[in-house]
């Protein structure tokens, strides 16, 4: 009888592991970002698939009180208009000296109505203000108040096509990154033009930055220039330098 039990237990474990593998396989057979290349990227994919399948819906991140707003480091590119820096961008310098009056965000790719939105255009959309925690991959956090237009409103306005799967962002400091539709249509994913009740300051990405509150800070690109909606994953941006594409963790 003891022996029988032992076999049953082992069978239970093997069956359990096999079904776990079975659950993961369909996730791997779909074309998923980031592309495989090494075992670290496979771990990232496992985290991405697990978050998308196991976490319940588009839950909202915690929102804080006005009094919780903290000091906020500006890191990475802090001013693309600085000619002394490697990230200097002449166009950005010109736009900034004109108080961003000539700045416009272009939306193209898998949308029915590709268009260019000025800052005033974006501010005519219903605004959303949220006090959230920015989590930097370095280990620090900061709480700030962000005002902007939900990305979903802009995407719907441009008429996003059914085949669209990723939203790619290009910036004036030469960066590019993308998010999936799940995060793009998250209610707290906004294009922010205001910070702590004022216009977005240059060190924090003026005139417009992305806020992806469900991911690590580096997904929230500053100095936005262009949005391209695609139906396939573009393996550029941070990946060649080894940074994970999905950073919900």
């Amino acid at each position: 009888m003891k022996k029988n039990q032992l076999i049953t237990r082992r069978h239970a474990i093997i069956t359990g592991l096999a079904s776990l593998g079975g659950l993961l396989l369909p996730g791997c057979s779909k074309k998923l970002p980031p592309t495989y290349g090494n075992i670290l990227r496979m771990g990232d994919v496992l985290t991405y698939v697990a978050h998308r399948t196991l976490l319940p819906g588009q839950s909202l991140v915690r929102e804080y009180n006005y009094g919780d707003i903290s000091s906020f480091p500006a890191i990475g590119t802090t001013n693309p208009a600085d000619p002394a820096k490697w990230f200097f961008n002449e166009d950005y310098g010109r736009l900034r000296s004109g108080a961003f009056a000539n700045w416009a965000l272009s939306i193209e790719g898998r949308v029915a109505r590709p268009a260019s939105y000025s800052l005033a255009d974006l501010q005519r959309f219903p605004a959303r203000t949220q006090i959230t925690r920015h989590t930097c991959e370095e280990g620090w956090t900061a709480i700030g108040q962000w005002t902007g237009v939900p990305l979903s409103l802009v995407l719907n306005n441009a008429g996003i096509l059914a085949s669209a799967r990723f939203v790619n962002f290009y910036t004036y400091d030469g960066r590019m990154d993308s998010i999936d539709m799940f995060d793009a249509f998250h209610p707290q994913t906004i294009l922010a033009y205001g910070m702590n009740g004022r216009d977005l300051p240059v060190p924090h990405g003026a005139p417009l930055r992305l806020r992806v509150e469900t991911q690590i800070g580096y997904k929230s690109l500053k100095f936005l220039k262009r949005i391209v909606v695609t139906d396939e994953f573009l393996d550029v941006g941070n990946r060649p330098r080894g940074w994970a594409w999905y950073t919900g963790i």
Binding site: R9, I13, G16, L17, L20, I39, L40, R41, M42, G43, D44, L46, T47, H51, L55, P56, S59, L60, V61, R62, Y64, D68, I69, S70, S71, F72, P73, A74, I75, T78, N79, R133, T135, C136, E137, E138, G139, W140, T141, A142, I143, M195, N196, G197, R198, P201, P203, H204, E213, T214, Q215, I216, N238, R241, G242, W243, A244, G248, I249
Partner: protein, 252 residues
């Protein structure tokens, strides 16, 4: 301690699933400790609460990389008009940062630890392993006995190895704390640092007093686990290294 040897001769050897999970978790933990240290080196400051960064006061800062108390902050700009307003400052310091691979490696190892840990916990419950070997019996848990066992260990009077899970009282208590408290706490505080996970399960932020508190608790729990690992290895050596390693690997 002779009674331990004769407790149950049938169960005197380590089970195969115990050996397997033991070594997978060992390797995962070593990778986690290493990558965790690399991650900590990038921002070796620890805080309490939800927000904590170079512009806010820290609980303490560890001198473990060139990012320790680094300068390079400029353009101090208050957000509001009052005197104690939070500020924005720009950083022009070139950071030491290996998080591109260290973070992904940390989470990869964490997957191995968590999945193996779940298998171990389920097997431990359903085979009765925890009940018969790991949890101290009510009858044996006396403060006096615990104290006596502790003093013996401090005097390096370590009982010689058996071939299986015939653990002493102090050993049972230590393993139970590691398995049912320290490891779960590191996993849960780790998850509390994830913006997507805390969006879905905000109770984690309440439970650990905020994202930065979770990071600080994560650090102390991990450091305690490293300390456990060191003591564990010393005990293995003291009680008969060869016999212990054989019992935990190929020993039948």
């Amino acid at each position: 301690m002779i009674s331990h040897h004769t407790l149950n001769p049938k169960n005197s050897r380590h089970k195969r699933w115990v050996k397997g999970t033991h070594w997978i978790i060992t390797v995962s933990f070593l990778v986690l400790a290493f990558s965790g240290y690399v991650i900590l080196k990038v921002h070796p400051r620890l805080y309490w609460g939800e927000a904590g960064n170079s512009l806010t006061p820290a609980l303490f800062e560890l001198p473990i990389s060139r990012n320790y108390q680094h300068g390079g902050w400029e353009n101090n700009t208050p957000f509001f008009d009052d005197t104690d307003s939070p500020v924005s400052m720009s950083r022009n310091f070139a950071m030491w940062n290996k998080n591109s691979w260290a973070r992904s490696l940390h989470f990869l190892a964490a997957w191995f630890l968590v999945l193996t840990g779940v298998v171990y916990l389920l097997a431990g419950i359903f085979t009765g392993h925890f009940r018969s070997h790991l949890w101290p019996r009510v009858s044996e848990f006396r403060l006096r006995l615990f104290w006596r066992d502790l003093i013996k260990h401090l005097r390096m009077q370590i009982p010689s190895a058996t071939n299986g899970p015939q653990y002493g009282l102090l050993q049972k208590c230590t393993y139970s704390v590691v398995i049912f408290f320290l490891l779960p706490v590191t996993v849960l505080t780790g998850l509390t640092m994830s913006p997507a996970v805390t969006a879905a399960y905000p109770f984690l932020l309440k439970m650990f007093f905020g994202a930065q508190s979770a990071r600080t608790i994560h650090f102390f729990a991990s450091a305690t686990l490293v300390l456990f690992l060191l003591v564990h290895v010393v005990m293995v050596i003291k009680s008969g290294f060869k016999k212990q390693i054989r019992a935990m690997t190929i020993g039948k």
